[in-house]
Symmetry: C2
Subunit: 149 residues, 2 copies
Amino acid sequence: MNRDDALRLDNQTCFALYACSREITKLYRPFLDELGITYTQYVALLALWEQDDVTVKQLGARLYLDSGTLTPLLKKMEAAGLVERVRDPSDERNVRIRLTGGGQKLKERAYEVPGKAFCRAGVPAEESEELRDRLAAFLRRIHQTTMEE
Amino acid sequence: MNRDDALRLDNQTCFALYACSREITKLYRPFLDELGITYTQYVALLALWEQDDVTVKQLGARLYLDSGTLTPLLKKMEAAGLVERVRDPSDERNVRIRLTGGGQKLKERAYEVPGKAFCRAGVPAEESEELRDRLAAFLRRIHQTTMEE
DNA sequence: TAAAATTAAATTGTGTACAATCGAATATTA
DNA sequence: TAATATTCGATTGTACACAATTTAATTTTA
């Protein structure tokens, strides 16, 4: 591969990721619209449905987001009645995020979202799963790097 | 896979993409900082280095971005002396984007960016390339869907 | 234990993304 | 060809992302 080929857009894994991620979000949007949530709110809920009552820090570690993104996001979700934000009495630096009844209930309607989205695009589950596992391995390595240095 | 497993964050290909894309951008940032450009400006330049003198529409088709994102982006790049934006006299609806001398020259310094980034993370070229090709296939299918409907 | 260091969340400022709308230019059609 | 439809880029408004800074609370250390 020569110098110019190395800079071709279609040879960039970073661009494939960037484009793919945004297109997938567009694929999900109509189904998330029905639930009245954005994509970022959706992944925050996925994390909370798995483990409720976590600090902003913990949620950020799970989603690779910091308080600069999460604080306004969680305030909107609180205003929408999905979560509550409570200062931890035992350590006032922490804010704990807890699902409300409405936030828990929304999970029922979310079960069908991933299936609908991938069905819409006609992506076979196998292909998607294999891609997912490769990305997970990739992510671990990248994240380790950006954390260490 | 039961219902709850289907909603686990680590089982979502969409989340793996979303997280991976943002972490990759962080990996590139220090090298792009040296060039004085953002990640989105970088991919716009990659496209223009490959094919110069294109309309905003054409550039958007290549990057999966619309004028809502591109117009302010290109104005900043124009202000930075990287491109010029000229109304096409033969069809005044179009705005053609052309690299300036400075924009062309920056390519010289960009050649080493991808290598540095992946070296930094210790990702083997093979693994990256295979991932890239899988993503490209995935992207084609998804994009076709979001366009058709 | 009082001062210094660390931690967590919030805030500030910049830069995308993207849906929806707008206004001008061009193409289509009745 | 005049009216209609389409296309393109710009604009508007909302919602992230994220670096950098700030503020308050807690730990660590001299």
